[in-house]
């Protein structure tokens, strides 16, 4: 119960601020001079969302599928790549700089290439999300793998641990904590990159729906999609935080400030 209470204590201030902002927004549109065609009021958005709910859900489903596939793929690639970079001597110094370089290519530029090569199916979109997601995970894992406590490493070497055992028993478990910080970043990236992927020659998914709505002068629909996207992103993030709590139970409980 204590956890619940402290969770609530932490949750209410940002929620109050959010409610305040929404109220201001509503007031600005109702009594102010904001053009409804540019920025519909929150209530109008909710009304519109309820009206087109089944269609919205269809698109949401497509986006969720794309996000999860890409996120899972990105996580797997990121994890394996980090392990390889860490374990194969010389591999890290040879490949890591290229990986960093690859992150400077904007996704908007990769997307058409993937479409050109692989067509308009699900695969190029999933690949796009994967490409965006793997990097934070690789970086987080790598720093975790190479940084375990020097004392622990020294102790285990003194008692004669082998390289593989050192990896499984010390480096990998230590990297798990870091892995979760990478997963959290990638979770947010995955939803956003899925939306971008859906802008490319498709009419399925919240990204496509959003684009069509704004182009067709139906901003209330567009904003409804935005609301759902934000909710998706937060949910995925929350799930990862939950998983982290379950996996890393051994950590000392930190006092809530």
């Amino acid at each position: 119960m204590a956890i619940r209470k402290s969770g609530w204590a932490k949750a209410w201030p940002p929620m109050a601020v959010l409610a305040g902002l929404l109220a201001c927004w509503q007031a600005a549109v109702t009594w102010g001079k904001v053009d409804k065609w540019l920025l519909p009021s929150p209530l109008a958005i909710v009304q519109e969302a309820i009206q087109i709910w089944p269609r919205l859900m269809e698109h949401t489903e497509a986006t969720v599928q794309l996000t999860l596939l890409g996120f899972a793929g990105g996580s797997a690639v990121g994890f394996v790549l980090a392990a390889l970079l860490h374990l194969i001597p010389g591999f890290r110094s040879a490949v890591y700089p290229l990986l960093v370089l690859s992150q400077n290519v904007p996704i908007i530029a990769i997307a058409p290439i993937l479409t050109m090569l692989l067509g308009y199916g699900l695969l190029p979109k999933v690949l796009l999300v994967t490409v965006v997601c793997f990097f934070p995970i690789t970086v987080a894992m790598l720093s975790g793998l190479s940084s375990p406590d020097a004392q622990l490493r020294h102790y285990f070497q003194m008692i004669g641990i082998g390289k593989w055992q050192l990896f499984w028993r010390l480096e990998l478990p230590h990297a798990i904590v870091h892995l979760f910080s990478g997963l959290k970043i990638s979770a947010s990236y995955s939803v956003l990159s899925a939306i971008v992927a859906e802008w490319l020659g498709t009419n399925k998914g919240l990204g496509a729906f959003m684009l069509i709505s704004f182009k067709g002068f139906m901003p209330d629909r567009g904003y409804a999609a935005v609301f759902i996207i934000v909710t998706l992103s937060l949910t995925l993030f929350g799930l990862i935080v939950l998983a982290e709590r379950i996996v890393i139970r051994w950590q000392p409980v930190k006092e809530v400030e």
């Binding site: 020294h154 102790y155 285990f156 070497q157 003194m158 008692i159 004669g160 890393i248 051994w250």
Partner: protein
Amino acid sequence: MSDKASIHAMTTLQVRGIRKSFGKRAARKEVLGGLSLSVADGEFVSIVGPSGSGKTTLFKVIGGLEQPSEGEIWVEGKQTTGERGHISYMPQQSALLPWQSVAGNIELSLAISGLDRKAAKLKTKEWLERIGLDDYADAYPHMLSGGMLQRVSFLRALLAPQRLMLLDEPFGALDALTRLQMQQWLMSIWDQNRRSVLLVTHSIEEALFLSDRIIVLSASPAVVLEEFVVPFERPRSEALWTNPLFNELKQQIYELLKAGGKEANE
């Protein structure tokens, strides 16, 4: 030849003429300057020496983490220079995995030291009960006090199948009172399960209280300045602290360390 072999069979550890330098050319610095010492089976030997004299480096050489520039290490009658896995070890910081329970930590180390899983489990359980920590078997290390952690760390080294235990300032991070308690505790446990011990310590009293023999090292490059046989009967009690011979030995070692440190500084 056979004569030599029989001597090796009785000594658990022989360090023969070990030299170790770090760095290259102008920056080259000799840390161990031809060090020789031995630990007999079931003997408790302490090393005292000035800070930075190369004691941890010596342990690394014995443990096979560092290759000596010259000299040989013999453990239980076999040459093991540069080889790992022939010793058990207790560091200054307890070095327990934070994500493993107390029992899990001990079992893992025993498994790495070559014990099979089942035997490791049984032994761990039995000994945690014996030292009164069985309530903490499933606790994570962060839930234990510093003294408890060092008990677990010592137990982990003690239960390993290797005959030789290296202890590198095991109580250095503890407060004075806990330290005294730990010394007595260690003594009583070691009496029940005698192993060959090589202990590094900064405390001359600790060395006198625990050991059969004390080896005094010079400042680096370290060589053996002198060896003291500690003549007190076991089991030893706190009464030893007021023994005149105890204080005389303490004074002698202290003077020696002071002189040895100066020599190197000049």
